[in-house]
Amino acid sequence: MTLPEVWFVVVAVLFAGYFLLEGFDFGVGMALPFLGRGRDETAEDGDVRRRTLINTIGPVWDGNEVWLLTGGGAMFAAFPIWYATMFSAMYLALLVILVGLITRVVAIEWRGKIDDPRWRRWCDVGIGLGSWLPALLWGVAFANLVRGLPLDSGQRFTGTFFDLLSPYALLGGLTTLLLFGTHGLVFLTLKTDGHLRIEAMRAARVWAVPTVIVFAVFGGWTLAYGEKGWLATVLAVGVAASIVIAAAAAAGREVVAFAATSVSILSLVVLIFGSLWPVVIRATTTRANDLTIAAAASSHYTLTVMTWAAVVMVPVVLAYQIWTYWVFRQRISTAHIPPSIGLSLRVRRS
């Protein structure tokens, strides 16, 4: 393999890490509106339930998000033409993703600072925006690379925003939305205890069914673009894994279900990047305008420097991130949530 090809794989791995880790962050955020409601049977305050959900990802979500920043940075360093073309072509879609990510960061961090129902409702809206929108739009964005963009002979985008909204791309968005939603629900069954754990499993069971179907349809459609035999195997693994999700969720096997959602996400990433190879953005105008790995890549020297940096740093990063998950491995339930220590919005004069 040449260095550009290696870096294509590295970028794929970074986005796989991002989808695997932020996938459940998004899923947890998506679950807030339904799992986070107060229920009569538990007589628990809805806010305590929502806090429990948010705190399952509390110590780790920020580190998970860095996978995106590093993925973007690696793309810029290793494939500047890919980075420039993709992000300028998908300008408005990325704007929406960024708005979501911005509101999610501040909503998670600031939610508990003020003890006021209206304040917290606004924060829940922010978390919701930052979970539903990126979960949908990342799928749309990557499906568009596979389907292709109108590129001219200089590999510059010539289309408009509406070129991004083909049925195939929207189905890609629905795929990631359902997959991340299920992934998050299954993650919650591993991280919570008590009623939330039972309810999350029940919800995962419901989400798993459309996930299998949409994944299979989108994957089959992707094969039509990919034109590679081995991708059928990847798709089969992915679909099999999503069937396992449904079965494991029905049987209450949490670890198996989480392993299965992870395999599904990984196979989706392999499917997308595999069908692109050896191209990074397909051109809908003529195949001669495809932006290839070789044409998009940086110089040999830059890739060598980056390879050394990655070889040294990635194991270190993985080690301390895994350690963090180990430190915060215990399940939490509504009983673990301490009383709110937020201040009132206004100063109370005594």
Partner: protein
């Protein structure tokens, strides 16, 4: 308006927002690490309270710093794609390394610090905040190295086949003399910001406690307030003022070094900073001018210090410096017709504002150290107001400094290096993406409104938590600290988490 103007406004607005928050993070993380270390070593719980109090403010600030930072990672590709194509081979590497080395470190260990007060052994927990402090400063280094390459491109050559700048020496990019001058200057500015923030809040609280102690009839309460002022706020404030003093000296030294570099590397930037229109021998430093700066010859110099500019530039009071008009002619000869002058009004005043605003911190540090000398605990009301008034000044100085640096580089996006590969240069007009003006207008409006709203919320939160003071439940560490091994088997009801969002 065209897409270029809107894109420039967007990058400027989003970056200035980001850099209102960033210096506080960069400076406050090490200061909190020091506070926690002092508590760890001495066992003095007042330093624990200080750690928790400023830790809360740090986290409120960190969140918005991250939120505004995410945009920057993608904005190059979105709005400046031609630039990204041209420089990606060089510019991408420090950006990727920033993610790999620094962002992962700070975000992961900040999570461990926030949630690990009871779960981690005390030393490991202390190490977490130190790693955060290292991470935020490391990220500053990488991004400043990237920016410095735009100011003074080194370690690269122009490849005519691919029509882009290509990296040939990564070490040269990391040790760019521009970066080695800009990094300590920026970090010193960040420490001045955080020092002023801590000292301002500490002084205000110290005086408030003292005054409340004086007016209350409750003898016990008065004693408590006086003790708090003497044992909590006074030491914290004096610590912060020494930080301010040290960073003030560092700012002057590094600023001077940077200015000398700039006179060599980007003479146009420095000439416009001084409203120096024509060749001058023994050039004087202008403090006040009136007139229209952008019409170079219309200005009248009101106050100036003779020969100072020549001395600042070269250490020689009689050095001859080029003016804007001469440099414009030289650039036209080298790079063809065009306007190579930055906005002279902005660069002139931003440079003065940067230096002028820094006086706010200097006044507070001087007054504060004097009035707290030899065990004194001041109670002058005016000092409290001075402390509050000083807090915004370093933020304004930081913004002014970056506005000067970046707008002084105009019209270049990659400024030509006088001693480097002469074919590496790019103007902003060549670097902008081919977006419609409306597309960029939509994002500019969205970011401005969203950031504006979040800035208001940020201010409300910081003010609210400052006015409330250290929280009662943070008055002393949890007795089970460090002994929580994660199983609740011996408890009927699980122990609540030490912290939950």
């Amino acid at each position: 308006m065209n897409a270029l103007d809107v894109s420039r406004w967007q990058f400027g607005i989003t970056t200035v927002y980001h850099f209102l928050l960033v210096p506080l993070t960069i400076g406050l993380a090490p200061m909190i690490a020091v506070m926690q270390t002092v508590w760890h070593v001495t066992g003095n719980e007042q330093w624990y309270r200080a750690t928790k109090f400023f830790g809360k403010l740090f986290l409120i600030n960190f969140a918005l710093g991250v939120a505004t930072g995410i945009v920057q990672e993608f904005q190059f590709g979105m709005a400046w794609s031609e630039y990204s194509r041209y420089v990606g081979d060089v510019f991408g590497a420090p950006l990727a390394l920033e993610g790999l080395v620094a962002f992962f470190l700070e975000s992961t260990f900040l999570g461990l610090w926030i949630f690990g007060w009871q779960r981690l052994p005390a030393r490991v927990h202390l190490a977490c905040i130190w790693l955060v402090a290292i991470g935020v400063n490391a990220s500053a280094f990488f991004i400043i190295a990237a920016n410095s390459w735009m100011q003074h491109p080194v370690g690269a050559r122009f490849n005519p086949d691919t029509q882009r700048a290509e990296l040939v020496d990564f070490w040269a990019v990391m040790t760019n003399n521009t970066a080695l001058a800009a990094f300590p200057h920026t970090v010193a500015g960040a420490f001045l910001t955080a020092g002023t923030f801590v000292a301002g809040i500490g002084t205000w609280w110290m005086i408030r406690d003292r005054r409340r102690a004086r007016v209350t009839d409750d003898v016990v309460l008065a004693g408590e307030l006086n003790t708090e002022a003497r044992t909590l706020y006074r030491p914290v404030t004096r610590f912060a003022m020494w930080v301010m003093l040290a960073s003030g000296v560092a700012l002057a030294v590094t600023g001077d070094a940077q200015a000398k570099l700039m006179f060599e590397q980007q003479p146009m930037k420095m000439a416009s900073a001084e409203s120096l229109c024509h060749v001058e021998t023994g050039a004087s430093f202008s403090i006040l001018t009136i007139g229209t700066q952008n019409n170079c010859d219309s200005i009248t110099r009101v106050i100036e210090l003779p020969n100072l500019t020549s001395f600042l530039a070269t250490n020689d009071v009689n050095a001859t410096l080029s003016g804007v008009t001469d440099l414009q002619q030289q650039y036209q000869q080298r790079f063809g017709p065009g306007n190579y002058r930055p906005n002279l009004f902005v660069t002139y005043w931003a440079f003065r504002a940067m230096i002028g605003w820094a006086i706010g911190s200097a006044v507070l540090a001087a007054a504060g150290l004097w009035f707290t000398r030899r065990g004194r605990v001041p109670d002058q009301r005016w000092l409290g107001w001075l402390a509050l008034a000083a807090i915004p000044t370093p933020f304004l100085a930081n913004s002014s400094g970056w506005v000067f640096t970046e707008m002084g580089r105009q019209p270049w996006m990659v400024a030509p290096n006088p001693t480097g590969d002469p074919s590496i240069h790019l103007t902003v007009a060549q670097g902008v993406s081919n977006q419609s003006v409306w597309t960029v207008m939509i994002s500019l409006t969205t970011f401005t409104l969203l950031y504006g709203a979040l800035a208001v919320v940020w201010f409300i939160l910081v003010r609210r938590y400052t006015v409330h003071g250290p929280l009662a439940h943070d008055s002393s560490p949890h007795p089970d600290r460090g002994r929580d091994d994660g199983d609740d088997t011996d408890a009927d009801r699980p122990a609540p988490l030490s912290f939950a969002y």
